[in-house]
């Protein structure tokens, strides 16, 4: 037994020590730190599928300037320090031309910091914390909207729809970068319109009981109830407990990933009716090319793409476009600078929408660098109607008419 174990251990070590399969030579390498194990692994997998499909399509059409492209995913286990290690390794060992990915904001900040120091372009596809593009990192670009831009569609809705401006609002949000940023952004806007905030409540992620919180909210009798939840279970329980306690606003408005997934309708049943979701943008559903992409993706993988897949798929096209416009000489440092210059001139449309990187001021006064200037348009208000999430505002992206005020609660 002992000998067997030693043998197993030694052969395991040899297996590890043997050179890893070499990457295909002479490809244009894109590095993507993603969580492939650990709590965020399901998200890493979404991006892997999305990158894979885009790479396959581009290479099938002859690649970029005659060379094939390759996305090299490396696992950071959703740990910040490991994300820095992985970024460093992709840049100095794997010698990628450009980075993308990251998934969560904490890890993306580390990757951005490393990319900035080692002068390698990092094109962000999903992480939303404002600080990633508001600290003057000229090597960091972002296609997706920042956290503080997420509530834009909701802001437009209450401004543009007659009589929709809240008379008062309660805001509950999870205690994460994401939750906090969105709540701050929404509250800043409401305060600018002189809407009193009757409740301002933060809760820890993955809470199990929101009844005490909702009892407090009910006492304030808010005209609008704004709820921010990253976690799906939080979104479900917030809505459920608000309705059970009898909070009766004119609108239940959810922000964050938790309110945009099908489980919400499945778990809540009729209680999900009319709940708004200021959902993450996943392309304009009325656009035929976006529709075609949805179908193609579903045919290939058997799932309908959502924000993550759309973002991951689009970013490969954004990077490929910049690579196409760069004449690369083989000197890594010079090539990375050439690619950065090309990214600065990006002006194109993907399934995600229009992309052009620029420097501008965000809704909370953050000074963005290389943030997609079309980001404020990439925010959409959707509503759960008969178990389906449908875009309702702005009009140009609407799939159906909104129901407002909420007709399921007694006031």
């Amino acid at each position: 037994m002992r000998r067997f174990l030693v043998l197993a251990l030694v052969s395991g070590m040899l297996l590890v020590a043997a050179p890893a399969p070499a990457a295909a030579q002479d490809t244009l390498k894109i590095g993507a730190p993603q969580p492939m194990t650990g709590p965020d692994a399901p998200f890493g997998d979404k991006f892997k599928k999305a990158y894979g499909m885009a790479v396959e399509e581009i290479n099938a059409k002859g690649g970029v300037n005659g060379k094939k492209i390759e996305v090299i995913i490396d696992d950071h286990q959703a740990k910040n320090a490991l994300a820095a290690t992985v970024a460093e390794k992709l840049i100095t060992q794997t010698k990628v031309l450009v980075l993308t990915g990251g998934r969560a904001s904490g890890q993306a900040v580390e990757i951005a910091s490393v990319a900035q120091r080692l002068k390698t372009p990092y094109v962000v596809d999903h992480p939303s914390a404002d600080i990633i593009t508001s600290k003057g990192f000229e090597w960091v670009f972002r296609n997706n909207p920042t956290g503080s831009i997420y509530p834009q569609a909701f802001n437009k809705f209450i401004t543009e729809v007659p009589g929709a401006m809240p008379k008062s609002a309660a805001v509950v949000y999870d205690n994460t970068v994401f939750g906090k940023t969105i709540a701050n952004s929404a509250m800043t806007f409401l305060k600018s319109k002189n809407v009193p905030i009757v409740n301002d409540e933060a809760y820890p992620v993955n809470s199990l009981d929101f009844k005490p919180l909702m009892t407090k909210v009910k006492a304030g009798n808010p005209d609008f109830l704004l709820m921010v939840a990253v976690a799906t279970t939080d979104a479900i329980l917030l809505t459920k407990h608000a309705k059970e306690i009898g909070v009766a606003p004119r609108a239940f408005v959810g922000f964050g990933g938790g309110f945009g997934v099908e489980d919400l309708a499945k778990e809540l049943g009729p209680q999900s009716q009319n709940v708004f979701s200021s959902a993450a943008w996943s392309g304009n559903p009325n656009d035929p090319t976006v529709k075609e992409f949805y179908k193609k993706f579903h045919d290939k993988y058997g799932i309908w793409p959502k924000e993550h897949e759309v973002e991951g798929y689009a970013i490969v096209y954004v990077i490929a476009d910049a690579l196409r416009r760069s004449s690369l000489g083989g000197n890594l440092d010079a090539d990375r600078e050439t690619i950065r210059q090309a990214l600065l001139k990006t002006d194109m449309t993907t399934v995600f929408g229009k992309v052009k990187f620029g420097n501008w001021a965000g809704p909370l006064g953050d000074k963005y660098t290389n943030q997609n200037i079309y980001s404020p348009d990439h925010s959409v208000l959707a509503q759960w109607l008969d178990g389906k999430l449908q875009n309702v505002w702005p009009k140009s992206n609407a799939e159906t008419n909104y129901v407002f005020p909420d007709n399921t609660v007694k006031r």
Partner: protein, 322 residues
């Protein structure tokens, strides 16, 4: 080979990598290993010698990291002062924690450290005026510093390597001193039988609180170094339970209450972690876990403990128990 020679050899090996390679990724791995060495050695002071198993050392790491970052961002204090003050801050925080938690023994003590770590994490998460809450603190550039007429290049790995190697060596020296000091003897007595130690007149609470303060100081230095090296701290990165547990692993796998153990543990775990990750990409944690199980089952004294015993030709000792 005498023990002193072995220790000297290990210290020389620790300092060697920058002379042998300029590859920045390898130096980065070296820095990671030395940071883990420092943390393993810090934990070892309390866990190894005194047998007080703390699952809450991330608290001191996080306090050190935040203190150093805040001193720099708010007051512009240069890195080295900040590092030392980060260590002191962690030490101060450890005093009330020690006085409360050391009323408990064995598993109750371990659980209370776990609880305190969670409380401190929540404070960091919610005390936004001080810590910036979940958004965290980011340094975008380090101040230029001249040393002996030469400006230090913070973009290279070398200055960081030198700092962390010095800190790790310092922690190891402290371990060695402790093992020879009166306090070290007290701790061993406490570890073996706390009632007997008390009966012969050792002020056990005082001895434990002092050791915790020392251990917290070095852990805080590690936290401060993390802040400066990675340039970004948020509560989830510097206060997680996983971090405390990793410190325990380093000390246990390397060899409890030994000077060299933590280096061996850190080098070993960091390299196999990195190798498995590169090799298996998704399944690597299974192999890592399997390896840990084998190590704990067959090398209960840790790698260095077993090696040392084999070198001295002594029979297999009774594994250490708390």
């Amino acid at each position: 080979m005498s023990r002193a020679a072995a220790v000297a050899l290990v210290v020389i090996l620790m300092m060697a990598p920058p002379l042998l390679t300029a590859n920045s990724f390898l130096l980065h791995l070296g820095i990671t290993m030395l940071l883990w060495t420092l943390l393993g050695a810090s934990w070892n002071l309390l866990g190894g010698f005194a047998g007080q198993v703390s699952f809450g050392h991330a608290t001191f790491f996080g306090v050190g990291a935040y203190a150093t970052m805040l001193l720099y961002l708010r007051l512009g204090l240069a890195p080295w002062y900040g590092l030392a003050l980060g260590g002191l801050a962690a030490m101060l925080v450890s005093l009330p924690i020690g006085l409360i938690c050391f009323r408990l023994r064995g598993p109750y003590f371990s659980l209370s450290t776990l609880a305190v770590a969670e409380i401190v994490r929540l404070v960091a998460l919610n005390w936004e005026a001080l810590t910036n809450g979940p958004v965290g603190l980011l340094i975008t550039g380090l101040p230029s510093v001249a040393l002996g007429g030469r400006v230090i290049n913070w973009e290279s790995k070398l200055p960081f390597y030198c700092v962390i190697a010095a800190l790790a060596a310092l922690a190891m020296a402290a371990t060695r001193q402790l093992s020879r000091a009166r306090l070290g003897a007290y701790l061993v007595a406490i570890r073996e039988d706390e009632d007997a130690a008390e009966a012969i007149g050792i002020d056990t609470v005082r001895a434990k609180v002092l050791t915790l303060a020392l251990s917290a100081f070095f852990t805080g230095l590690g936290g401060g170094f993390y802040g400066f090296y990675y340039r970004y701290v948020d509560p989830d990165a510097v206060f997680p339970i996983a971090l405390s547990v990793e410190m325990v692993f380093i000390a246990v796998v390397g060899g409890l209450s030994t000077v060299v153990g933590p280096v061996i543990g850190a080098v070993f775990l960091t390299s196999i972690g990195e190798l498995f990750r590169e090799r298996f990409q998704v399944g690597h944690l299974i192999f890592y876990g399997l390896f840990m199980m084998l190590a704990i089952r067959y090398l209960p004294e840790g790698i260095w403990g077993s090696l040392r015993r084999a070198l001295a030709g002594r029979p297999r000792a009774e594994p250490w128990r708390s």
